[in-house]
């Protein structure tokens, strides 16, 4: 074992976890390692951390690899790594490759085999297959994702860099400077705030998906005042107040307990939902509203009630549909996606969190 090989193994494992580690970063890392005291575990950790990962969302993945390699801690290092292990001031990183057994890697080879389970980026995980650990990783990213989405949505509305010149006020202003227009006044365009109505399927068939959709909507709600959320299975009910607090992963249970979503049999009924929504909540729609629908469009062979969706469409600005199923299965079996998607501005297939995030970002 030698220094650089071990380190390269570590970099490789990081890359396999989905962390983008570039060559220049590895070079920085080696250079930085030559500058610090390896016996201080905090110091050693933060050196690797600050040179190799540049985004907080990778921290969990980084930590898992780091502890797999270096969990032995400083005590073991102290025992086996006195000064001679690291010939102190090495001029260049390549020279470090010559130092035998320098890197405090403990039992690395034996751990190699156990790697395969944890090679995935949590965001790429298919939602319906996500394990508890993945869920926790994803949950940690929610605030980050939602903040990004919120800022994206705000930025969308700020495209007035090349706005027209307001001649009148420019001329008026130029009076002060003897007719020389020193300050050019431009027309300020008024910005529209996004008004969003989200309708989310919370039935058992799309359980994981709706869990995440709800968590996402809940965190979006923190950044946007004009967001109303409705949940449905058979009946539709407003769930905005239940989303304002609580653990994102238990939101769905809270919603099921508090809102009235089932009337008779408890099968998802999109048709009834749309008619019910039009009847009870059509006042929430106006020409500025964007409607987001989260669900798999599996209607259990109930009536489609297309005219209700049509009415929603005419009452609002745009409808977007987010479907957890891959596009290939749309319209198969009792999925009515192909019928419904005709009324949507766009529909997205979001089998994992990354695609869901991307889809929302595209709006």
């Amino acid at each position: 074992m030698n220094f650089l090989n071990n380190l390269q193994g570590f970099f490789g494992d990081l890359r396999r976890e989905g962390i983008p580690v570039t060559t220049s970063q590895t070079r920085d890392c080696c250079q930085a390692l030559l500058l610090i005291d390896w016996l201080n575990p905090d110091c050693f950790y933060i050196t690797l951390y600050s040179t190799l990962i540049k985004d907080y969302s990778f921290e969990a993945a980084f930590n898992s690899v780091y502890y797999r390699y270096f969990s032995s801690g400083p005590e073991i290092l102290a025992g086996r790594q006195p000064e001679q292990a690291l010939p102190a001031p090495l001029p260049r990183a390549e020279t470090a490759a010559m130092a035998p057994d320098a890197l405090p890697i403990h039992g690395m080879a034996s751990l190699r085999g156990g790697l395969s389970q944890a090679l995935r980026n949590p965001l790429d995980e298919t939602l319906s297959l996500a394990s508890l650990e993945d869920v926790q990783k994803m949950e940690a990213l929610f605030p980050l994702i939602s903040r990004r989405l919120a800022s994206k949505m705000i930025k969308k509305n700020r495209r007035d860099d090349n706005s027209a010149i307001n001649y009148r006020s420019t001329m008026r202003k130029s009076m002060a400077t003897g007719g020389m227009p020193l300050n050019i006044m431009t027309v300020k365009r008024r910005r529209e705030k996004p008004v969003i109505v989200a309708i989310c399927d919370v039935s058992g068939s799309v359980m994981t998906f709706s869990c995440f959709a709800l968590a996402m909507l809940a965190s979006m709600q923190r950044f946007m005042r004009q967001l109303r959320t409705f949940g449905f299975i058979e009946e539709v009910d407003e769930i905005t107040p239940w989303l304002s607090s609580g653990d994102p992963l238990t939101l769905r249970t809270t919603v099921l307990r508090k809102a009235r979503l089932i009337s008779s049999r408890g099968y998802t009924n999109y048709g009834k939902t749309f008619t019910g929504f039009m009847r009870r909540y059509s006042s929430s729609l106006n020409h500025k509203t964007t409607v987001l629908i989260f669900g798999d469009a599996r209607n259990n062979w109930f009536n489609d009630e297309i005219q209700a969706l049509q009415q929603i469409k005419t009452r609002c600005r745009k409808i977007y549909w987010f479907n957890p199923e891959p596009e290939s299965s749309w319209g198969q079996g009792d999925s009515r996606m192909q019928v419904y998607s005709k009324y949507c501005q766009a529909s997205f297939s979001c089998p994992n969190l990354n695609t869901l995030q991307e889809a929302i970002g595209k709006l």
Binding site: D37, Y49, S245
Partner: protein, 300 residues
């Protein structure tokens, strides 16, 4: 090298900033490798403070560029003072002057407005350059910044190239509202600051709030810590904890109980919903534990 890191930590302490081993190490590496440091973390954990304290410690001027949506080169690099240029042209208009002289005149240093980035580069002594809230700028600006941070020079067509005499120490802060470009991140060392541990917050309070007894500092830090565990719209930042401690001192109080907390909580928490929630918790339990309200059990 450990001495250097410890020295750095002491220096930062004297400058009014308590940093842990990790922060000190990153600062040391940034200095040794001549790399910009990208600081991320929630609002109010002292991202900007790191740069400010660093400049105090090094006794170097701090040049600060506050980024915002729509910032452009004219606001960040340089701009010609065209009002003065126009006035100059008008003034010499009545005299008989060679137009080429006028042109040379109006494009001289005298008419150049130096914006923060040019200031940092052209300064005769090294500076600490703080680029605050880098995530607010658009991609074009970020690309421009990238070029600047790798070369430390910029060209002004009328004047020629300005090259940095001293490399500035660069700090970038970000709230992660959008992802920065890979290229920019690659060039920086990454430092993620989080809310401090209980001990650290206590130390910070003692350092920042004169006249605070140890006992009260401990109590305030503990309560602030507990409040951060509650699910709030916005968790109180360190800056707000410091304000809170100052408010309590200012009111002439020397203990923190639930009556004092109810009176001063609005210094710590700024959302009405959050405030109501915390007040509810205090009323329900009559203490400052901030546990969720106990469920009423029917058996009793």
């Amino acid at each position: 090298m450990q001495d250097k890191i410890n020295g750095l930590r002491e220096g930062m302490f004297k400058a009014g900033y308590i940093c842990d081993d990790r922060t000190a190490t990153v600062l040391y590496l940034g200095e040794a490798l001549h790399k910009p440091i990208l600081v991320e973390g929630p609002a109010g954990v002292g991202k900007t403070g790191v740069a400010q304290a660093f400049s105090v410690m090094k006794n170097l001027p701090l040049v600060r560029l506050q980024c915002y949506d729509g910032i452009d080169e004219a606001k960040a690099l340089y701009e010609w003072n065209y009002k003065r240029q126009l006035l100059h042209i008008q003034a010499v208009g009545s005299h008989n002057v060679d137009p080429r002289d006028v042109e040379q005149d109006i494009f001289s240093e005298q008419y150049l407005l130096r914006r923060p980035l040019l200031q940092a580069i052209s300064s005769s002594q090294p500076t600490v350059l703080l680029i605050d809230e880098i995530d607010k700028v658009d991609f074009e600006f970020e690309a421009m910044l990238l070029e600047l941070l790798s070369e430390f020079q910029m060209s002004i067509p009328e004047l020629g190239t300005v090259k940095a005499i001293h490399m500035p120490y660069v700090f970038l802060t970000s709230n992660a509202t959008r992802e920065l470009s890979e290229a920019l991140k690659r060039r920086c060392l990454y430092l993620h600051l989080n809310f401090p541990t209980l001990d650290l917050e206590e130390q910070i309070l003692r350092l920042k709030v004169p006249g605070l007894t140890d006992q009260l500092a401990e109590k305030i830090a503990t309560v602030a810590h507990r409040i951060r565990q509650v699910d709030l719209k916005k968790a109180p930042s360190i800056a707000e904890t410091i304000d809170w401690a100052m408010a309590i001192i200012e009111l002439g109080l020397d203990d923190l109980d639930h009556a004092v907390a109810l009176q001063t909580l609005n210094v710590l928490v700024k959302h009405r919903e959050d405030l109501e929630k915390l007040e509810g918790m205090i009323y329900a339990r009559n203490d400052l534990n901030f546990q969720p309200r106990p469920v009423n059990n029917r058996a009793w």
